[in-house]
């Protein structure tokens, strides 16, 4: 495949006109499904996913090894004290151009499920819900790169909506590099938030961080890249995660503000109010 992205060197603009450190448009909504405990819909550019959270609730009958597992690492049984995070991802056949159907046993999907379950388990306070299960269903409606990142962001939003206590948001985004693995050129630029085409042609990684810290919960790199490129890519990715966190936080805050204005929740009492007492 010819490197379309080679034009980058001329104008410093990427195929979709972005600069190296720009995110695509992120659009997010929460509470999209009335019947669910928590739900969200998220677009990162043309990657569109929706998420439904059920739980924490009584675990249903065991469903073999199909789901992901958290904490103890699957099937720990009686001794496990924390809630189990079970993730199920459905990738719609129409979500990508090649209309490839993925079966239930598709290893890539299973791996993403497990990654998601273990990523969320790192932030969710599962110890508060012993012997229960948190079910997270994700549906991929459209794919244009950064799929794993979009899934993580959508799941985080839905978990916040479901009111499951967590340490902080886990947000994710991708980063790439304009260098190919063969060329060890020092002048290569890191890129933020890869779309499908860039993902195909350039080395890249997905990174998920906790809150606005530099602490990495998940780091997935599936392409060959010089070790010297890693630092730049990671730095750009971590920075992107912080931007994403800010955007997601605004989505949640907007919902809260709307509820306060409509009077469905009290405005509460904070520390400052106390000083008045």
């Amino acid at each position: 495949m010819p490197l379309d992205t080679s034009t980058y060197g001329l104008a410093l603009l990427r195929v979709d006109g972005r600069r190296w450190n720009e995110l695509r448009r992120i659009h997010a909504q929460i509470r999209t499904q009335a019947a669910a405990d928590g739900s969200s819909y998220l677009e990162m550019g043309h990657t569109k996913v929706m998420c439904v959270v059920t739980g924490p609730s009584e675990p249903g009958p065991r469903r073999g090894a199909a789901g992901g597992a958290a904490g103890g690492g699957g099937g720990a049984g009686g001794q496990s004290k924390d809630a189990e995070v079970v993730v199920n991802i459905v990738i719609a056949g129409f979500s990508s151009v090649d209309r490839k159907r993925r079966g239930r046993g598709d290893k890539r999907t299973l791996e993403m499920q497990s990654t998601l379950a273990n990523t969320l388990a790192a932030t969710l306070h599962t110890h508060l819900f012993p012997h229960s299960q948190i079910n997270i269903s994700l549906h991929v409606l459209s794919q244009d790169g950064s799929l794993l990142a979009a899934l993580i962001n959508a799941a985080t939003l839905a978990c916040v909506d479901a009111g499951i206590p967590m340490t902080d948001y886990v947000t994710a985004c991708t980063a790439g590099s304009t260098s190919t693995y063969a060329a060890n050129d020092e002048g290569a630029d890191p890129l933020l938030d890869l779309n499908h085409q860039e993902e195909q042609e350039l080395p890249g990684l997905t990174v998920a961080t906790l809150g606005d810290s530099d602490r990495v919960v998940a780091l997935v790199c599936e392409s060959r890249v010089q070790i010297s490129r890693l630092e730049g890519m990671l730095a750009v990715g971590v920075d992107g995660c912080k931007q994403v966190r800010e955007i997601l936080d605004q989505v949640i805050k907007a919902q809260g503000q709307k509820m306060i204005l409509e009077g469905t929740v009290d405005k509460g009492t904070g520390l400052n109010d106390m000083d008045l007492d």
Binding site: G73, G77, G105, L219, R224
Partner: protein
């Protein structure tokens, strides 16, 4: 399926406490591997790797087949990982567990997707005939760090493997049996190795290489980095788990490179020794010439 036994609270607590003082139960340093051993089978393409009490057997095999319709110029290359009850009675036949899926994906990404094997060279007649190379990974004994051991076994088996020689004359493809012509090695491009870090504690600030099964059960997260000796990352997988500072991850990668280079030179040495052992009397000069042609791996 019988349950997998979980370590007791005492054990979990002790392992963590000892690691905080940089003590490991077997007396190793935090960044020290257990002794890595490799034995080749009588046949080509069988590698038996032991890493402490972990033992993995990989067997490479080849078969003539038809290329996939969407990739007529490529041969077929598959890695099959199935954990049998021999690994642990908790594994059931024909029911893949999460561990199995993750290992097989990691091997796939490390060896296959990184282009270690030149799949184009496996194609004999475009769209009609190609080699299908298959590596079967058998975990005989599981005492932690299956991934690093399995990856080493797969790479060793593939580099040791010889496929039957073929020739094309006037559009007629001839495949020679081992009795007719000495089999030839695969066209191998680079050797990636997996290095797995395990993280401990609430903050993930203790990082340990080559964790044992007990350590793996206590750990709060892990990160597998695959590299070749040229300093190319083939894959990184930190699939959730405890958050780790980005800077520490970069450090882990640098240490991983040293370990990968170490493994690379070990494998080179074992391959040379095995070649010598097979080449008693130097009757396979032809083969050694072939070996020279293999690019510096």
């Amino acid at each position: 399926m019988p349950r997998e036994a979980e370590p007791s609270l005492n054990e979990k607590q002790f392992v963590l406490q000892a690691l905080q003082d940089s003590i490991r139960l077997d007396g190793r340093e935090l960044e020290q591997y257990r002794p890595l051993e490799l034995t080749f089978g009588d046949q080509y393409g069988v590698a038996d790797v032991t890493l402490g009490k972990t033992r993995v057997l990989a067997k490479a095999s080849a078969e003539l087949t038809v290329p996939y319709a969407d990739r007529p110029l490529d041969g077929i290359f598959n890695i099959a990982t199935e954990l049998s009850p021999m690994t642990s009675p908790a594994f059931e036949v024909n029911r893949p567990t999460e561990t199995e899926v993750l290992i097989s994906r990691l091997l796939e990404k490390t060896v296959r997707r990184s282009g270690a094997l030149d799949t184009e060279s496996l194609c004999l007649v475009a769209g009609q005939k190609c080699w299908s190379i298959r590596v079967d990974v058998h975990v005989l004994s599981h005492d932690g760090n299956l991934i690093d051991a399995a990856c080493f076994a797969v790479v060793a088996a593939l580099r040791h493997f010889r496929k039957p020689d073929t020739s094309m004359e006037g559009g007629v493809l001839t495949v020679y049996t081992p009795a007719e012509r000495e089999p030839v090695p695969l066209s191998w491009l680079h050797s990636p190795f997996c290095v797995t870090w395990s993280f401990f504690g609430e903050d993930g600030d203790i990082a340990v290489l080559d964790a044992t099964w007990m350590e793996e059960q206590v750990s709060s997260g892990s990160c597998t980095i695959s590299l070749n000796k040229h300093g190319e990352i083939c894959q990184i997988a930190k699939l959730g788990g405890v958050p780790v500072e980005a800077v520490s991850l970069l450090q882990c990668t640098n240490v991983a490179l040293i370990k990968a280079k170490d493994m690379s030179s070990k494998l080179d040495r074992w391959l040379t020794e095995d070649a010598k052992r097979r080449d008693k009397g130097g009757l396979l000069a032809e083969l050694s010439a072939e070996n020279d042609r293999v690019p510096d791996i």
